[in-house]
């Protein structure tokens, strides 16, 4: 497609140059002969370029594009690197694109990937809704897309979506939450990005358990955008209105650390139980130190590798894939923390 664009551009240039020289159709002149020669030349140039491009494509190794929501977060860098490593191992050239949490930039990356001849896209979407159009564009161009970690709000666009089982992970966290609070008290919930489906899958999993205990009362539910600093600010504000909370449930580990910092600054860290989700490095350490009660360990390496394997299988002819494939999330507490490291198991 990239070459076709170039060819179109060449032909357009040729046409523009000859336009002033055009004469009436019925008049045969030297100018019109020159024009005809130029067009024929353009046609032969077109054939030459097509020939060259086809020869080049048949020899070149297939390529996988890895388009990631943001590389500012080490978790996503880990996801991208593992996807690239697995794709390379399977014999593909790879390139990682950083969407910087911007759907417009993500759209540009898709355009680039499609015109540059990538065979598949391993994709971590920026926005569940806003990213759908990009996946559809790739599908229309015959390029399969495999979502990693984050899902899109469409079930007929991506070939498969390999996602952390956030809902079930938070069900397990909620069971522990209920036990740790003895089924009573007040708590705060910090939500992630409201436009991200993971935010709601985690919240719904948590509430599917906790809401069965009427003596557990949620005094505040606020978004902190999965961001540590924002979580600290939000938690400080909440503590002013609700100084006697018993627990905080956070939609990711960055927010859990931010909430913990605010609680520590208010002298309440030892009284309030904080729960996170992700399996980030600092939370793994904080669980060891007894600062954070628990987290849901995700496995970005498993998701990334599965996406690359699926893409390879697709390109080799397989067509039957589960639209949504969950990856189990494991409950990590002080009791089993020795089994885990950041982003997954120690042996990974």
């Amino acid at each position: 497609m990239f070459h076709q664009k170039k060819i179109t551009s060449v032909i357009q240039q040729v046409s523009l140059r000859v336009t002033p020289c055009q004469t009436p159709r019925n008049s045969v002149s030297e100018k019109s002969t020159a024009w005809l020669m130029l067009r024929l030349g353009g046609f032969f140039l077109f054939l030459l370029l097509v020939g060259c491009s086809e020869k080049k494509d048949s020899n070149a190794p297939k390529k996988m594009a890895i388009i990631i929501s943001t590389l500012n977060n080490p978790w996503f860098v880990f996801l991208a690197d593992n996807a690239a490593a697995k794709a390379k191992e399977l014999g593909y050239e790879t390139k990682i694109f950083d969407s910087q949490n911007n759907t417009a930039l993500e759209s540009d990356h898709f355009e680039n990937a499609l015109v540059s001849g990538y065979s598949a896209v391993l994709f971590n979407p920026t926005d569940a809704e806003g990213s759908v159009v990009n996946v559809r564009k790739a599908k229309a161009a015959g390029v399969p897309v495999f979502c990693m970690d984050r899902e899109i709000n469409a079930t007929d666009a991506a070939t498969s979506q390999i996602l952390s089982d956030s809902y079930s992970g938070c069900v397990e966290l909620a069971k522990l939450f209920v036990q740790q609070t003895n089924k009573k008290g007040t708590y705060v919930e910090l939500l992630g990005l409201v436009g991200d489906n993971n935010t709601w899958a985690r919240s719904q999993g948590f509430h599917s358990v906790v809401d069965n205990y009427p003596s557990l009362k949620m005094v505040a539910q606020q978004s902190a955008d999965f961001d540590r600093n924002k979580a600290m600010d939000v938690m400080e504000s909440i503590l002013q209105a609700n100084p006697n909370i018993d627990a905080v449930f956070c939609g990711n580990d960055a927010m859990a650390m931010g909430a913990y910092q605010a609680l520590a600054a208010a002298g309440k860290a030892s009284k309030v139980k904080v729960f996170g989700f992700d399996g980030a490095d600092d939370v793994v350490s904080a669980i060891k130190d007894g600062k954070i009660v628990a987290t849901g360990m995700q496995f970005p390496k498993v998701m990334a590798q599965t996406a690359a394997i699926y893409a390879d299988e697709y390109l080799k002819g397989k067509r039957e894939f589960a639209q949504k494939l969950p990856v189990a999330v494991e409950l990590v507490t002080k009791k089993n923390i020795e089994n885990y490291a950041a982003f997954g198991k120690k042996e990974q």
Partner: protein
């Protein structure tokens, strides 16, 4: 002769016409359950109805074929991979796998959230309070995730199945349970293949007697 031929062609014509009409009539009339049609019309997956059918037609019949808990844990101790390969199932990929189990034991302790049971070979707990998660949905291996496109539908099946078990199995049993009683149980357990812990087995019951 010509008259006979005409008669035959008329009969042939009417015969073919009748067969076509019968075929059309057969393919034009069919019967479907009203709730199926309603669910389709609303475009909404009925997780409660699905869970009820799944419990009755897929999970419950499988309970009889579940391995005995003592035999399973013996196999897990001696040949972990064989035990997981033969008996475990999961919808999600990863290390958490689910097993259907059955067994018999004596209630040795009644706790706030569970019952402690002593089987001939080991001690385990029967969940009475926290009937949540995917154990019951996945353990039978009968749940086919490829038939679902929405994550919410997949999750709601577990949620509704757990509700049914709480209401029909656990709530009637729990108030009557006493220390010293013998209980026959069948249900599901979750185990981490990578970090196997057989000391703290919790059975989520699907049947209690």
């Amino acid at each position: 002769m010509e008259k006979k031929n005409n008669k035959t062609s008329v009969w042939l014509k009417y015969g073919i016409g009748s067969v076509v009409l019968l075929l059309l009539a057969y393919n034009s009339v069919y019967f479907r359950k009203l709730d199926e049609v309603k669910a389709e019309a609303s475009g909404k997956f009925d997780a409660a109805a699905f869970a009820k059918t799944f419990l009755e037609k897929q999970l419950t019949p499988k309970l009889a074929t579940a391995p005995d808990i003592d035999e399973l844990t013996t196999l897990l101790s001696t040949d972990k991979n064989k035990a997981f390969d033969t008996y475990s199932h999961a919808t999600a990929i990863g290390n958490i796998r689910y097993f259907l189990v059955k067994g018999q034991g004596t209630i040795t302790k009644i706790n706030e959230n569970d019952l402690t049971i002593q089987t001939p070979k080991q001690q385990l707990t029967l969940a009475m309070e926290f009937i949540y998660g995917n154990a019951l949905r996945d353990a039978s291996g009968e749940f086919d995730i490829t038939k679902f496109t929405k994550t919410a539908d997949i999750n709601n099946v577990s949620s509704e199945l757990n509700k049914l078990i709480r209401a029909s199995v656990v709530f009637p049993f729990r108030p009557k349970a006493k220390v010293g009683d013998t209980v026959q149980f069948a249900g599901a357990i979750a185990l981490n293949k990578e970090h196997l812990n057989l000391a703290e087995i919790e059975v989520v019951p699907a049947s209690l007697k």
